[in-house]
Amino acid sequence: MSEELRVSPIETREMPGKRRFAMVVDTRRCIGCMACQVACKAEYDTPLGVNRTWVPYKVVGKYPNVKKQFLPRLCNHCDDPPCVRNCPVGATYKHEDGGFVLQRYERCIGCRSCMAACPYNARFMLPSHRTYTPITNVVDKCTFCFHRVTQNLVPACVQTCIGRARVFGDLNDPTSEVSYLVAKNATQVLRPEEGTKPHVFYIGADRNQTEFGRDAYRKPEVMELERSAFKRHFDI
């Protein structure tokens, strides 16, 4: 099969003349300060209980030699995104130049099909009330800060990251820092078996973190208790 036929028609990686933005997250540098999460919230007035980016952690090792491993998460702006394929009205679409997976809020009917399709839980439903923004009751997610990037700024989370754990740039540009980092380091992506070709690359991420956690082996009842406690805390 020819190279052209082997890629899905909407892929933008290694396409000549097209930019392909990507983020590299160096987990060795992440200190779990959550500044990225806060910066993102401030940038978008993201309501309580939902997040465009979030930083879960896992405690690894045996006492007293334990440490926390952080794994910043966000939409992977997949090269072959199932959320785009699954949206019945084209409200979720892929920007040809840059590969951003974006949302047309005025078109979204709120069927949550894209949420079900995303293997990474990167999408969420905006609640009915927000503080400053009239956009409600539609699905939202990280946009790789499209509005900032088109003005030659980096995403808010990258801008704020104190450890420079997040690096952003054009992967199709061989001189960019992300190209260099992806070329020179062993990188991981989340759930590569899903075939979505994610464009958030991790350096130093543990396979135990990028897969389903062992927490899921706990009794469903116990998980349900924790889940409801979490919801009680976050629901508004």
């Binding site: 896992k58 699954n86 009917i109 995303c118 990474y120 969420f124 075939g195 924790e226």
Partner: protein, 285 residues
């Protein structure tokens, strides 16, 4: 543990499961109404099944629209400029609308007593009705990352469930009509048998899959979800009605009606568990 688990919300809530149930019976009744043109024994059910199917289509449509976070935008899904044909939902919307139109025309033909048009429209409506469980199955099948959902037998399972639920309602509607009861008993038996076989194959492949599959199998077979899925769905709603229909009591009207009630309860439980169960694990990721 001490680990920081981030709980996400499930994408589709129980309304969707009720919709699956309602639209399954709707399709089943449409098959039954079509069957009355081919089999004389079912004749008394023709109008009842057609009206029942239409009423459930309205209920199902309202449920589907009400479940959208932007219900008034449901017209977007019928806008040719917006339609994305890679999405099963887009096909489903067109299917529902086409089925609705065919149902209205069919009911009009029945009222006029136009036999030729009635038979033709019954065939068209039944073919479009077949699309309803198929697309609901595809709605789940396409989710590559979800164990249980992502299996090619899902649309087949939904078709079998539709036939089982439709014949169960038919058995309740048929009353003391011996000839109709006999046929409906056969339909119920074979379709519920097919549901059982498909469930076994789904459970088998899920339990022998990777970590996500294995965990989903655990979630679906233990605790409250286990009670709904295995207890009501598999044991009470699939195995019990088969046993009942095979026993001499199942040949009597009461037996067939009881089996019908069990099949309906099982159909509701299975649809709920198949929708919600595989979403649980994802909320932890």
């Amino acid at each position: 543990m001490g680990d920081y688990v981030w709980f996400h919300d499930v994408s589709w809530h129980a309304t969707y499961a009720i919709y699956f149930f309602v639209i399954g019976i709707c399709a089943g009744l449409s098959f039954l109404s079509y069957g009355t043109w081919r089999t004389e024994a079912l004749r008394p059910l023709r109008e009842k099944a057609a009206w029942g199917s239409f009423a459930l289509l309205v209920v199902g449509g309202l449920l589907l629209i009400g479940d959208l976070s932007q219900p008034l935008r449901f017209f977007n899904i019928l806008n040719p400029a917006f339609l994305n044909f890679t999405s099963p939902l887009a096909w489903g919307a067109l299917n529902i609308v086409a089925f609705g139109i065919a149902s209205v025309l069919y009911l009009a033909a029945l009222r006029q007593g136009n036999e030729v048009r009635g038979k033709l429209l019954a065939t068209i409506a039944a073919l479009l009705a077949l699309g309803l469980p198929i697309y609901t199955g595809y709605d789940l099948t396409v989710h590559q990352s979800r164990p249980v959902w992502n299996t090619p037998v899902m649309p087949v399972l939904f078709v079998a469930l539709a036939v089982a639920s439709g014949s169960a309602v038919g058995a309740i509607l048929a009353g003391a009509n011996q000839a109709a009861q006999k046929l409906l008993r056969e339909y119920m038996l074979w379709s519920t048998g097919a549901v059982g076989v498909i469930l076994i194959s789904i459970l088998g492949t899920t339990n022998y899959g990777g970590a996500a599959q294995e965990l989903t199998f655990m979630l679906m077979t233990t605790g409250t979800m286990g009670l709904i899925f295995v207890g009501i769905g598999v044991v009470a709603g699939t195995a019990a009605p088969i046993a009942l229909l095979l026993a001499p009591f199942g040949r009597q009207q009461m037996g067939a009606v009881l089996a019908g009630v069990l099949v309906l309860a099982g159909g509701a439980a299975l649809r709920y568990a198949l929708l919600m169960g595989p979403q649980q694990l994802q909320t932890l990721y």
